[in-house]
Amino acid sequence: MKSTILRTIVLACLCQGAAWAASPPDLSGFWMLDFKPGTADPALMAKVKPGSVFLNDTGAAEFGPMEFGGLKLKPEALAAARAWKIADDMTVQNSCRIPSIVYAMQGPFPIEIFQGTEMIVMRLEYFDMARVIFLNRKEHLPAKAAHTKTGDSIGHWEGDTLVVDTTHLKEATITNNGLMHSTQIHVIERFRLSADGKQLLATQEFEDPEVLDNRGVRYITWSRVAGDHVHAYDCDPSFAEAYAK
């Protein structure tokens, strides 16, 4: 009798596990960034590591000069931020410099998601970027592997939430005002659908021991738009010449 009950429980657990594994929510589709993300989703925020400072610069919001939303910069990073000049971004060399996903995910551009069982592809309109999130890999690439603006992303499902762990990012801006992350930045993102399925909700946590003394977290949301697709960005650096003339 005891073993029958045990077998039933084990079978029920296996079935439940199989059901979750077989049917995660479908995040596929075209998502337009919300300029005002609204109140952060409690379920996602509950997963954020304690001590993370909340950055209110997503969507339309943006930090001004020497404003970093509570991030504590190490002396070298602070000196670099002080030395940074906005005019330097308005040059042919820099006007099409691609950000990493740290800044790009909350930029004012849409994303398009193609969801598979072994990987998920996210196309970002911003700078024509494409992310591949590997669901079939548990370990990151070796440390010596190339660092890129999209990095190495591995993901898994925790119930209805896609958890994405990213390393191997090349240096790029964090806040678009002189604060740069290093190649040591580590990003954890959690994505889930709103209850009505019309919004994609996400947190983006990051830590960078070379640049920051604390951790940051952003809350980002997108709204589903039917029938649209990512456009070409095709950045043209000659914009900087037009600015200078």
């Binding site: 337009m32 919300d34 300029f35 005002k36 339309a60 919001a61 943006e62 930090f63 001004g64 000069p65 404003e67 906005i86 971004d89 308005m90 006007s95 099409c96 930029g107 004012p108 551009f109 309109e125 911003y126 678009n176 005002n177 709204s223 649209d228 456009h231 070409a232 960005y233 095709d234 950045c235 043209d236 000659s238 914009f239 037009a242 600015y243």
Partner: protein
């Protein structure tokens, strides 16, 4: 006698609470003053429709007829396309009124918020309307 630079005819500055100044490549918050909105009427001499930003060049005459050149930076064309713009929306010779956020350094350089034609018709969907429609 040194002639004093005059303020363009239809330029007006008003303090506004702005929460939807969409940034893109370079920092909006660092480069532009989001607390002010400037309105400029002028004649289009050039319209570039390319990323990371479009650019409108305008001849703006002051009350004495002296002409100054203003440059107006737009959002990314891919964003503008969704707001009803195309690369042929403006052409040289068009007279328009541009409302936008001024450069912090005082240069005659704006970030476009809306464009209106002399008959009062608005070009595309202005930014704030676009934001509300997305919610």
């Amino acid at each position: 006698m040194k002639r004093r630079r005059r303020i363009p005819l239809l330029m007006a500055m008003a303090a506004l609470a702005v929460s939807a100044a969409v940034h893109a490549h370079h920092s909006f918050a660092v480069f532009f003053d989001a607390e002010k909105v400037v309105k400029v009427k002028g004649t289009v001499t050039e319209f570039q429709f390319r990323n990371p930003h479009g650019l409108i060049r305008l001849d703006v005459a002051d009350s004495a007829g002296a002409v100054s050149v203003w440059k107006v930076e737009t959002n990314s064309p891919s964003i503008l396309e969704r707001r009803g713009w195309s690369r042929t929306t403006l052409k040289a010779g068009d007279v328009i009124v541009v409302e936008g956020w001024p450069a912090r350094d005082g240069a005659p350089y704006l970030r476009m918020r809306s464009v209106t034609r002399p008959d009062g018709s608005v070009v595309g969907t202005p930014l704030d309307m676009s934001v509300s429609e997305q919610k």
